[in-house]
């Protein structure tokens, strides 16, 4: 009973919040609704018994990714509305609606479930975090290490890309300085 109520509540709220994310003109509203939608998605994971995944979702997505986005928004002018030229909104809605229909029909189709066997079955009486740890550090050890190297590469790339010329302000008008610089070059 609680599961049904929670499922419908979470799904209605997430779909609404993500619609705000996609439709809103304001970056701040879009980011806030995206963060709250991600919190509610971790609720789905808790209903599904994937406790560790839910906690990771909360820490990594809501904690790290959203903090990174909000830091990035400080570089850009986030307060003004975004003016976007939409070439053909009707076409976009048609394509989005059609893809939604196709995906829903695909997923609603009956699944031939006898042929599917669990590769790494969950154990009874063992916590989800323990189960995940055993599988992750035995069967998925090499992908885990590769993911660690990938995160290191991404960190270095982020520092190198964003770290150049950090002493200059992005939003202030620096064209005057540029003119002075070009005059110096001309001399």
């Amino acid at each position: 009973m609680y599961e049904i109520v929670a499922f419908y509540l979470f799904s209605a709220l997430t779909i609404g919040l993500f619609l705000i994310t996609v439709m809103s003109k304001n970056v701040l509203y879009a980011m806030t609704s995206l963060a709250s939608g991600m919190v509610l998605i971790s609720g789905f994971f808790f209903i599904l018994g994937a406790d560790f995944l839910g906690v990771v979702q909360l820490i990594v997505y809501v904690g790290a990714v959203m903090a990174l986005y909000s830091f990035a928004m400080m570089f850009f002018d986030a307060t003004r509305d975004i003016k976007e030229r939409n070439t053909n909104p009707a076409l976009v809605f048609l394509l989005g609606g059609l893809s939604a229909l196709v995906l829903v029909l695909m997923f609603a189709a009956p699944i031939h479930s006898e042929a599917i066997q669990a590769l790494y079955p969950m154990h009874e009486g063992v916590g989800n975090a323990q189960d995940v740890g055993i599988v992750l550090f035995t069967k998925y050890l090499i992908p885990f290490e590769v993911a660690a190297v990938m995160l290191l590469v991404a960190m270095i790339a982020g520092i190198i890309l964003a770290g150049k010329k950090m002493d200059q302000s992005l939003t202030e008008d620096t064209s005057a300085d540029d003119e002075i610089l070009t005059q110096k070059d001309a001399k």
């Binding site: 779909i15 599904l48 560790f52 990714v65 995906l103 609603a108 995940v132 590469v153 992005l170």
Partner: protein
């Protein structure tokens, strides 16, 4: 009773919302938000499969997906800052410099 199909349909709807955002957005930052929505939709589907087939593989893939999303954000935001320094705008139409 909530079955696997319920979760898959919600996941498909959220994925379509993200796809619609990717199609209609012209601002790069908002485009990143839409891709995050799509990645989260796939995560729901993985967790639902993992629960209903009693298999941990789905959760493993969801973990790696989260790692990939985190590194995508780090690199993507770095590129975004470089583009903003160079062009002073994040509009995709302004950034289109290749005429094909």
């Amino acid at each position: 009773m909530i079955g696997l199909s319920h979760y898959l349909i919600v996941s498909a709807l959220i994925f379509s919302i993200g796809l619609m955002g990717v199609l209609r957005r012209r601002n790069l930052l908002m485009l990143f938000f839409a891709t995050e929505v799509m990645l989260n939709a796939v995560n729901i589907a993985f967790a639902a499969f993992s629960h209903y087939y009693n298999d941990l593989t789905g959760q493993m893939f969801a973990f790696f997906l989260i790692a990939i999303a985190a590194s995508e954000v780090a690199v993507g935001l770095g590129i975004l800052i470089v583009l903003y320094k160079k062009y002073g705008s994040l509009d995709l139409d302004d950034l289109a410099s290749m005429k094909g």
